[in-house]
Subunit: 201 residues, 2 copies
DNA sequence: TACTTTTGTTAACACTGTTAATTAAACTAT
DNA sequence: ATAGTTTAATTAACAGTGTTAACAAAAGTA
């Protein structure tokens, strides 16, 4: 009864070809341009066959999200093993994380829900500058009054904003995971850590 | 010649009514559900009139993005003025930033390009756990071997991941703004700061 | 060969953003 | 007040999107 096996194998190949065509599209024009019709066109089948293998478009994107986390996990594990001291490991992991994100922007955007069209030109908005200036000025005076007056204000500002944004957007994705209080503790922890490294040398 | 003035005023009112209807829709069902047709329906006009006031849909969303940054900027400025010491100001700003984000999630998502559909259920993916376990285990051993063995590993993990994700996604938005080297310096700065507060008391 | 199950296609539904052509309204000048 | 001009708004369509019901074709089974 190898006939059933072959069917399963064919089905698996079909599924893989869908993902392959979809990923090619994502790599070419970004995940926003992915459409069922384009996939169907690429694999030279009619549209509804795709729904025999994936419940909907979201399921296809979810597949890549999983793949992304898997790849990232492996990459982090790998660099970790190349170091002994935990501090060195954490540094290596951070660098690997960074590299993964920018060498696989499509993966990363899917994994963390990035990529609203309106944000593409967001950096040119004057309101952004006005907001950031509040932060920058505060950080600069903090540095000036600290025991480490030759720290780079802009660098520290980016660090500060990144910590804030990272905290917020991570918590925003995993909505119900934590209590408001424990979320606030994470914020407190990160910010107090930042302030310490900012004001002391 | 008050007639020209009135026209300008009417045009401004029209524009405002479009934004009002659009924002109501965003608040009700999220920015992903916003459509030109729904706006036209809400203001009881035909579809193309909207294009007399906004170049396209993106321009409408951009308007809210600007509004968001303006509101955030004002909120930060306000809390800053309530404190004297820069360190206290930075803490207050961080809290205000946090509050703004979660009291105005629609604004925040627009401002930072968050909200891909596939990410809603992303926390249940097993691959995520496997990736995070690499980080968590490293941090826990770092804590154990440090002079501060009673630190909360999960809390520090969240801080670590948030810093990384914040750095990445901020840099991803403002693509060309900085050189790769200066970006890497920001990463280095943030991570070394984190490690210091992690391993030392 | 006849029957059943699986597989694939056609065609449509209900949406989306955007725009050209056309009509209705408002204003200007005679 | 009427004729001409400019502005405003509408209808209708184009080109897409995800999704699905109804039907036809192929494959496997008796």
């Amino acid at each position: 009864m190898g006939i059933a096996e072959r069917k399963i194998r064919q089905k698996e190949e079909f599924r893989a070809s869908i993902l392959e065509a979809a990923w090619l599209q994502v790599l070419t024009d970004g995940w926003q341009s992915l459409s069922i019709r384009k996939i169907a066109d690429a694999i030279e089948y009619s549209i509804p066959v795709i729904y025999n293998h994936f419940e909907n478009k979201e399921a296809i994107l979810m597949e890549f999200t999983k793949e992304g986390f898997q790849k990232l996990g492996l990459a982090l594990q790998e660099v970790k093993e190349q170091h002994q001291r935990p501090a060195a490991q954490l540094e290596a992991i951070a660098n690997a994380y960074w590299d993964f994100a920018f060498e696989n922007t499509e993966y990363y955007q899917l994994m963390f829900g990035l990529g609203i069209p309106a944000c593409e030109q967001a950096r040119q908005i004057p309101e952004v500058k006005e907001m950031t200036s509040v932060m920058i000025s505060t950080i600069k005076t903090a540095i000036a009054e600290s025991g480490n007056p030759d720290a780079d204000g802009y660098l520290k500002y980016h660090t500060y904003l990144s910590i804030l944004h990272g905290l917020v957007s991570i918590q925003m994705i995993q909505k119900d995971a934590k209590s408001d209080l424990s979320k606030r503790m994470i914020l407190q922890d990160a910010i107090s850590g930042f302030i310490i490294t900012l004001t002391s040398k």
